[in-house]
Amino acid sequence: MIDQVSVFLENKTGRLAELCRTLGSAGIDMHALMVADTEEFGVVRIICDTPQAARDLLDGSGFSASVTPVLAVEIPDRPGGLADVLEALGAKGVSVEYAYCFVEPLGAAAVDIFKVDAPGADAALAAAGFRALSPAELYTPDVV
């Protein structure tokens, strides 16, 4: 599992920019960002370097941020690649709360992020021949 930073935002002009600027000014590099929104508010999900530090920075800057463990999976870049992964999870009774995808510039594979509701998802994937990525493969982890 990897760490994702989740931030609650009201739908106000410029608020997302303020969020990104806060991280940018602190030299925290973002790798992926996804916004889930309704009419009034949104939840921004971010994969970035040093997620724990990013959360603390945002909390201290007037944002409401938390860290959520999510699954990052390397998806073969071919038709049906994502379907294979989802079927492997489904076969083990793991359901996906939400998912989003990004392509790392250097790799031939895409990376998908899954919020799953059950433990054992890593094992289900490994058994089906897929690979869950470790934090260090995606971002600079926090120094503990």
Binding site: F8, E10, G62, S66, T68
Partner: protein, 435 residues
């Protein structure tokens, strides 16, 4: 108890004292304040005929407008040379009113505020940080003189500069904090941001008042600060803080009945209601010299708790004020007190007790939006959790108020904090232009 011989006086003796003092004050105001001379004459009430507290029913009420029209000094009952201080109402509603105090008034007020601290469990060994505003508002100086009268170390910080408040709280070894409950919450939050856990400090008592607050807010403050928080009550027209105070049993506020007669009236019929029933609180001051008030209608809604208290004080208790009839909002014909919203929010995990009610018109109908802060510690990752939270807040507020509302969840700490009395309502209905 600060004055046990008075605070635990047998009821019969207390009532005899009240009758004697009431007769005296009625005669004094009749002789020296034109407003009362006129009112008593119009009502056919002769102060000389007063023999029992029941006779108060024949005495006309005094209302805020009487005090406004007497602005500034028209209701003073003592010669101006005997008045040594004035305060004014905090102006939360309408024009300010001026109240004057003689040396004797200040002396008695100090005693009553000393009782208030002692009621909360404070002693001369305590260190009291007074964060009520000093100035025309009665809160600061009232709390100050009482703390000194008790013999506690008194720190006159006044309001504002919350970080400095926290620093003093920590560095000065403060054990008693006196401020508004909403400011206490802001101090706790600010301390947390500064990396200071108030629970680790010697602070043990909170003496909070000047605005309505709820039981759930009390629990939240007590938890955040690791203290016993008591409610205190007063209003400048009657004296200022020190009219009634909760003891450590935290079940209603003992009215200092040797100085004030409390009545609860039905706001429609203006008749007294039986003990235990809700109505408007009415006070008659028994010992004030500068500006006595007779059957003053406070607009505060409460009830008498008739049962004796285990603390030993014989003064009857009034329940915490749930709302002021001036604060009452009329929304689509339904009476609503903002404090009801606070009470609901205190029971829902995931939201903070900070809220703002925005009233507007949609067509001819009142529209109510309640902005509620998401609690900073609430872990938010999924939109549907937020939607569930929003629905729950909406459903619970609607069921408490019996009015349909819109709930807007806002980011933590975005609703303006107040250093004095909290502003909970933004009424845009009157700004709709003259259509």
């Amino acid at each position: 108890m600060f004055q046990p011989e008075l605070e635990a006086m047998p009821r019969g003796e207390l009532e005899r004292l009240q009758v004697a003092r009431a007769k005296d004050v009625l005669q004094r105001v009749y002789a020296s304040v034109p407003l009362y001379t006129r009112k008593f004459d119009e009502a056919g009430f002769d102060p000389g005929s007063f023999t029992s507290l029941d006779d108060l029913k024949r005495v006309p009420f005094t209302v805020k407008d009487d005090m406004r029209s007497a602005y500034p000094y028209g209701m003073f009952a003592a010669p101006m040379r005997d008045i040594i201080r004035v305060h004014s109402s905090s102006g939360t509603t309408g024009q300010i009113t001026v109240v004057g105090y003689t040396r004797g008034d200040i002396d008695r007020w100090s005693d009553l505020m000393a009782r208030t601290y002692a009621c909360a469990g404070a002693t001369p060994d305590d260190v009291v940080q007074v964060t009520y505003g000093y100035g025309l508002f009665t809160g600061g100086l009232g709390a100050h003189y009482g703390s000194e009268r008790l013999g506690a170390l008194t720190i006159p910080v006044s309001g504002g500069n919350t970080k400095r408040q926290v620093q003093i709280l920590k560095d000065f070894g403060v054990t008693v904090l006196a401020c508004t409950p909403s400011y206490a919450l802001l101090i706790a939050e600010t301390a947390m941001e500064m990396g200071i856990d108030v629970r680790d400090l010697p602070l043990r008592i909170g003496v909070f008042g000047a605005e309505p607050w709820s039981e759930s807010m009390r629990r939240q403050i007590e938890h955040a600060m690791g203290i016993t928080a008591v409610d205190i009550y007063g209003l400048s027209e009657v004296m200022g803080p020190g009219v009634a105070a909760e003891c450590v049993h935290q079940h209603g506020l003992h009215v200092f009945e040797d100085h004030f007669v409390i009545e609860i009236i039905d706001t429609e019929t203006l008749e007294r209601v039986p003990d235990g029933e809700y109505g408007e609180v009415v006070f008659t001051t028994l010992t004030k010299e500068g500006i006595p008030v007779i059957r003053y209608r406070t607009r505060d809604i409460s009830r008498i708790i008739p049962e004796p208290c285990t603390c030993g004080r014989t003064f009857r208790r009034m329940e915490r004020v749930t709302g002021r009839s001036d604060d009452m909002l009329i929304i689509r014909g339904v009476n609503v007190f903002p404090s009801q919203i606070e009470q609901v929010l205190g029971t829902i995990p995931g939201v903070a007790p900070h809220y703002l009610v925005v009233l507007s018109k949609k067509g001819s109908l009142d529209h109510v939006q309640v902005q509620v802060e998401v609690a900073p510690e609430y872990k938010i990752d999924e939109v549907r959790e937020l939607e569930r939270l929003q629905k729950r807040v909406k459903a619970e507020i609607e069921s408490a108020l019996a009015v349909s509302i819109e709930v807007k969840l806002v980011e933590p700490k975005t609703i303006a904090r107040s250093e004095g009395k909290a502003k909970r309502v933004l009424d845009l209905r009157t700004d709709q232009g003259g259509a």
